[in-house]
């Protein structure tokens, strides 16, 4: 088990290193300079700026400096906000994004499980059809469209929640829904299919032959067996939440990573772009490793083969 973990962590670091390298050279291919007031600057000013940011050094030196910096948690200096280290920029904004992401994940998975299992239990009834329609719509309607609609009708027209900005819990409700509907739809579909399979399995028939009630069967046997594979979806959900945050945070003016990322893209602030890319990638890789470990813990079949292997 420990050997397996070490191997996984090693590959994780290797992957991140490669991602950093590729991103770095990709950014070097970017046309134009990163200075927003480029037109007004003289050649001399540009040179001074380049010197200040270390952009006059040969590319391989810049690369080595960047990689070593990263090992010490230094992601460079933002071009957009002069003299602000990227790491500071990120750490000051990560709280909002993490909170929003976690809430959206919990919201989506929780209601997705409920909708999906109710649909599976009442297969081929109007309840099933309704939940299928809901999950198809949830999967198909882009989250930014939903966000704009929620913002206008719920916040502006009805005034139930704040329109935008970041404050208490009430500020998080609408962005959480907008962000969480995708995972909700996906969970509902996944749980429904899984539970339909489980409900058709032999061990459910045996449970029925024991005389257990419908509720007992679902609660003791069907739920656990159909929810365990759900863990594998946490990785894809993380991706969805990361990308979703880019546009949702923008619409609701939330000071998070996604909003910063879009801003940086629009002004070619590449140290920040690289920093956020690395953060997303590290987060994603860590979560995938974590879900693999969790999967091994909650599924007894894998647990055993893991300890033997």
């Amino acid at each position: 088990m420990r050997k397996y973990l070490l191997k996984r962590v090693f590959y994780m670091v290797l992957t991140l290193f490669l991602v950093a390298t590729i991103t770095f050279f990709l950014m070097k291919l970017m046309p134009g300079t990163p200075y927003s007031n480029q037109q007004k600057m003289t050649q001399q000013q540009i040179q001074i700026m380049n010197q200040q940011y270390g952009l006059n050094k040969p590319i391989w030196q810049q690369y080595v400096i960047y990689i070593f910096g990263m090992l010490h948690g230094d992601l460079g200096t933002s071009f957009q906000f002069s003299n602000q280290p990227v790491s500071y920029l990120i750490s000051s904004r990560i709280g909002a994004s993490a909170q929003l992401g976690a809430q959206a994940m919990i919201f989506g998975v929780f209601f997705g499980i409920i909708i999906g299992s109710i649909a599976a239990i009442n297969r081929n009834t109007w309840i099933d059809t309704t939940s299928t329609v809901v999950s198809i719509i949830g999967k198909s309607v882009p989250n930014f469209v939903l966000a704009v609609l929620l913002q206008y009708y719920i916040a502006l027209k009805l005034g139930w929640f704040p329109i935008a900005d970041w404050g208490g819990f009430s500020y998080t409700v609408l962005p959480t829904i907008a962000l969480g509907v995708g995972p909700l739809a996906e969970t509902a579909r996944f749980v429904r299919t899984g539970m339909v399979d489980v409900l058709n399995s032999d061990y459910i028939e045996l449970a029925r032959a024991k005389g257990l009630s419908k509720f007992g069967i679902v609660y003791h046997h069907a739920l656990r067996n159909s929810l365990i594979p759900l863990v594998t979806l946490i990785g894809p959900y993380t991706v969805a939440l990361m990308t979703g945050s880019m546009v949702i945070e923008n619409i609701f003016s939330i000071p998070g990573i996604g909003e910063q990322f879009v801003k940086s893209i629009l002004v070619n602030d590449y140290p920040t772009i690289m920093g956020v890319t690395m953060l997303f990638s590290a987060g994603l890789v860590a979560i995938i490793l974590l879900t693999d470990i969790v999967y091994g813990i909650i599924d007894p079949r894998i647990r055993l083969s893991g300890s033997e292997g």
Binding site: D202, Y203, L206, K210, G211, H220
Partner: protein, 348 residues
């Protein structure tokens, strides 16, 4: 007179499929006496599993009981609500399933899986239920039961798993035990162990068994009486000796003839396939595969002809007007043995 604890009368079950109504069970009647083992034999698709599932009230959603009754101690099980059936299933009537590899919940400790019926029906607390689970595990021959009670199904071999499935079925000491091909999925050596175990437990627990199988060989050592099913109907039934040594229906002949024996040199297969139950033939369903088929077989369904008090067969060959036919050699040999056996008992 022996007590009938289960009496199935004129059962008809249809399955609704996208191709049409499949008439899976077509007028089936049989009964189970207290303490005996009744074997229902037939090839796959003959309706034996459907019959037992209807007793358990576990029919699939697209199945419909068209007519008939299933009397258990004078109560019609088909008229019971789902809630009432839940109180009978696992307590009075229990079931052993075919494939032990898939019939245990992979994510639940087997102790809990065995204890579940006790908690449900005997209202025991978890500790007591586990204690009884442990006892029954020992009874079905799981070694080191104290430790293994905490294991998960994948940690057991196929034979051990079937022992656990048996333990689950017997943990409430049911009056009727339905075993649906309990040995089909197992290795031959394990099969014998499981059969021995079932016989042993039957005497200890005093339960009546309905034993479903497609393998006549398994039946000989297990059953008291045998019913042969074909295309959703019972075509011959009698005591185990009557079916094995005095078979009357050509299908039963075919089954016996396709079974290896010490003297046989060649196994005979029954040619053809069973009829499509979407559109069952109006006459004898076996006519198309029957080398002894007569005109009447294509036109009218044969009624049951009485062979003895306990032995009936549905074939026109038993009609007084029917020509005498010579069954396959193997059957003739069995008939001779049967006559010899009867003479001996008479002399006795």
């Amino acid at each position: 007179m022996t007590e009938r604890i289960l009496d199935v009368k004129n059962l008809r079950i249809d399955f609704h499929t996208y191709a049409g109504e499949v008439k899976a069970i077509r007028d089936v009647s049989f009964h189970l006496n207290k303490g005996e083992t009744l074997a229902i034999v037939g090839e796959s698709g003959s309706g034996k599993s459907v019959t037992t599932k209807s007793i358990m009230g576990l029919l699939a959603n697209n199945a419909k009981v068209v007519s008939g009754s299933i009397l258990y101690h004078d109560q019609d099980l088909l008229k019971k609500s789902e809630k009432e059936m839940q109180n009978i299933r696992g307590k009075d009537i229990a079931m052993i399933f075919q494939d032990p590899m898939t019939s245990l919940d992979p994510t639940m400790k087997i102790g809990q899986q065995i204890a579940e019926p006790l908690i449900k029906h005997k209202h025991l607390d978890k500790k007591k239920a586990w204690q009884q689970a442990l006892e029954i595990m020992k009874l079905v021959g799981i070694n080191d039961a104290e430790k293994r009670i905490n294991n998960y199904p994948h940690q057991f071999s196929g034979g051990q798993r079937q022992r656990i499935v048996i333990a689950i079925a017997l943990v409430c000491y049911p009056e009727v035990l339905i075993a649906d091909e309990p040995t089909t999925a197992l290795d031959v050596t394990i099969q014998a162990q499981i059969l021995d175990l079932m016989k042993d437990l039957q005497s200890k627990i005093e339960t009546s068994i309905i034993f479903i199988t497609h393998d006549l060989g398994v039946v000989a050592g297990m059953a008291d009486r045998v019913a042969v099913m074909y295309a959703g109907e019972i075509i011959e039934y009698g005591t185990v000796d009557e079916i094995f040594y005095n078979p009357q229906h050509p299908y039963t002949w075919g089954l016996l003839n396709s079974m290896p024996t010490l003297s046989s040199t060649k196994l005979e297969a029954i040619p053809g396939t069973p009829p499509d139950l979407l559109d069952p033939p109006k006459g004898d369903p076996f006519a198309a595969r029957n080398p002894f088929a007569m005109k009447i077989d294509a036109e009218q369904k044969p009624p049951f002809f009485k062979v003895s008090e306990t032995h009936y067969a549905a074939t026109w060959l038993l009609h007084p007007n029917a020509p005498k036919v010579t069954p396959p050699d193997e059957i003739v040999r069995r008939w001779q043995l049967y006559r010899k056996m009867n003479n001996q008992t008479q002399v006795h």
